[in-house]
Symmetry: C2
Subunit: 378 residues, 2 copies
């Protein structure tokens, strides 16, 4: 790719590769380059003649519009035709109905096998637009432009796309890797505080599961992150993307068990989200509480000592995230956890930490211990 | 796989491999073995504990039921849980609504990542159930048990799955290879004559595009095929599957252009189906007429001589298929052809024969020549 994120050459950008053989791709981490993303996309997808932008309505004017302008401006001998639509913010957009609507719209817009779908938004739009890309004419190319911290460090990388069934989240979808992921920290300037902090939960997760040094760095830099200091932010995003890229590169389709470590805090977290009523807690908030439950469970099973829980608790607090959920109810959460996709034929398994930076996949856990872990976080 | 299609050891069975690296699989061609297919599936998918059978309602009692019984009978220490449902016969079942219904049903039936979807039916059920398998929890394993000749020689092999949008066929789907394809010629005993003959169009296609010797064999054996002679039938199915397996193995996702040769007669054929109103003509009937239009076009372009058209015409007739369509209207068909997935940014391309057994992908054809080809088949 000839595109450089800095016109000046000054280095406030970095690049992470997701190593997946012929499906390998780059994550570009930049600041203030959205109005040149069209160039970046066109230069890495050279025979693109039709761009299909699907934006979250909340970022449509601020970030999708400049991106569209930059795509149109690429022009030259073979101008790129650009179609844009937006979807309502929030989880309900990850529905079969919205999926169907977008597919019909894409066909009406003259979409064909060489169209490129560009998702501009958070995890909801990335998952939804990614599944549209995976499905339209059995698959077209796909670009992720994440606009939330959560999407930047997690959902936009790794190729998981999909929608919800009324009874279960992410139950329908495809593994469909993007061709490129374009991250711009400036985009976070329009992100509400609560949503921003929610993204920090996944950042903390990478420290706990894989990188004790990064965890320590986070302990020292929590204040800078809360203040959205650009250098700290870019460092945290890059570290997180590197961790995710490495894990995904080793287990693209979640078959070896390796990728399962990314679900640390998530089996509890999903059940918290579902029983609280989707929307009551943000995903990252539920994951933060879920990580605390998982740490409690590890201590209960004598796999980890109390220091781990205390340090994790302090860091989550320092990032402005909750560590407790007063309505946590084992009777409600357990049935939801049993329906989790990761459940293998009725047996609950958890990713549990043994120390900061090291986790294990643990099965065969007594239901009573799981119940204690849930109530510990009330 | 330890399963043998013949208890006696007598050889009325054959096996074709689809060579796709780690996604390679076998096509088993048998006679009178459906009541042992459960065994075949269990022995090739060893850790299957939940089978999800999706059947065309027209073959549910005759063929899906014995298959379900044989799955239940496999039993042993780890009995297989079996869920079965059926869908209405015909193209309208390839809808988003039916897709959604099946996904919800599969979840309610306790489906998880290790469930195996088994399609029992023709192309409609294979495409629909295959897309359900590709999508449920981002993909579960999939078995094809084709019950029409068309599905046996074409749609059950090669991994194309999908559903229709109201405005365009097969516009949404996935490439999702089956784990095994189980063909039993006895199943064809309950297939109506018109549907059976429709399948012969695809058989003829393989002769024209790849195998002059096979074409000649078909000329000699058309009568035996029409009479559903079992030996002739198995030979025709095996030859067809071998041809399809070879082409698919060389171009799994239709990216190199190689796989496009399988679309001989289909660009015209799809437009005939669409303008006649889906259901007026069977797919194979439309393909038969489409092959005649393509041969006309080849002659018009001086790529082939008249003998080719005459031999193809005679063989199609001998197989009880139509070669003309009196309502063929270029004004109606051309817009449909322009919406075909294979159209590359507004340019029509056709697979055209130069002699029996040899075809070329030809672009840049004058619209007037396409119009003449269409009206030639009135």
């Amino acid at each position: 790719m000839v595109w450089s994120p800095n016109e000046s050459g000054e280095s406030n950008a970095s690049r992470v590769e997701v190593p997946l053989g012929e499906r390998s791709y780059l994550i570009e981490i930049t600041s203030g380059a959205v109005d040149r993303f069209g160039e970046a996309i066109a230069s890495s997808l050279e025979d693109m003649t039709h761009a299909v932008v699907i934006a979250d309505e909340a970022v449509d004017a601020d970030w999708a519009e400049p991106l569209v302008k930059s795509l149109v401006a690429v022009g030259g001998e073979n101008p790129i035709r650009v179609s844009k639509t937006s979807v309502p913010s929030g989880e309900p957009s990850k529905s079969i109905a919205q999926f169907e609507k977008l597919l019909g719209w894409m066909l009406d817009s003259g979409g064909d096998r060489r169209s490129v779908v560009i998702a501009v938004g958070g995890g909801v739009v990335g998952d939804l637009a990614g599944y549209v890309a995976a499905s339209f004419t059995r698959g077209v190319r796909f670009v992720q432009v994440p606009t939330t911290l959560l999407a930047m460090v997690d959902s936009s990388v790794g190729g998981k796309t999909g929608i919800n069934l009324p009874a279960a989240k992410n139950m329908v979808g495809a593994f469909w890797q993007p061709s490129i992921v374009l991250i711009d920290t400036e985009v976070l300037s329009t992100l509400p505080d609560r949503s921003y902090r929610s993204g920090l939960a996944e950042v903390i997760k990478y420290g706990v599961i894989e990188d004790a040094e990064f965890f320590q760095w986070l302990e020292s830099n929590a204040r800078a992150l809360i203040d959205r200091d650009d250098a700290a932010l870019r460092c945290a995003i890059e570290k997180s993307c590197r961790c995710k890229a490495r894990v995904v590169g080793e287990d693209e389709r979640e078959t070896s068990g390796r990728r399962a470590i990314l679900n640390y805090g998530h089996t509890f977290g999903h059940a918290i989200e579902a029983t609280a009523g989707y929307g009551t807690l943000l995903h990252g908030e539920a994951v933060a509480i879920g990580m605390q439950m998982a740490a409690h469970l590890a201590i209960d099973l004598k796999m980890a000592d109390r220091t781990l829980l205390d340090r994790q608790n302090a860091l989550i607090h320092a990032c402005g995230l909750p560590t407790t959920f007063e309505n946590a109810d084992p009777d409600e959460m357990l049935p939801v956890m049993m329906r989790d996709k990761k459940v293998a034929h009725g047996k609950l398994r958890f990713i549990l930490p043994t120390e900061i930076g090291v986790v294990d996949l643990v099965g065969g856990i007594e239901e009573s211990a799981v119940r204690r872990a849930i109530t510990s976080a009330r």
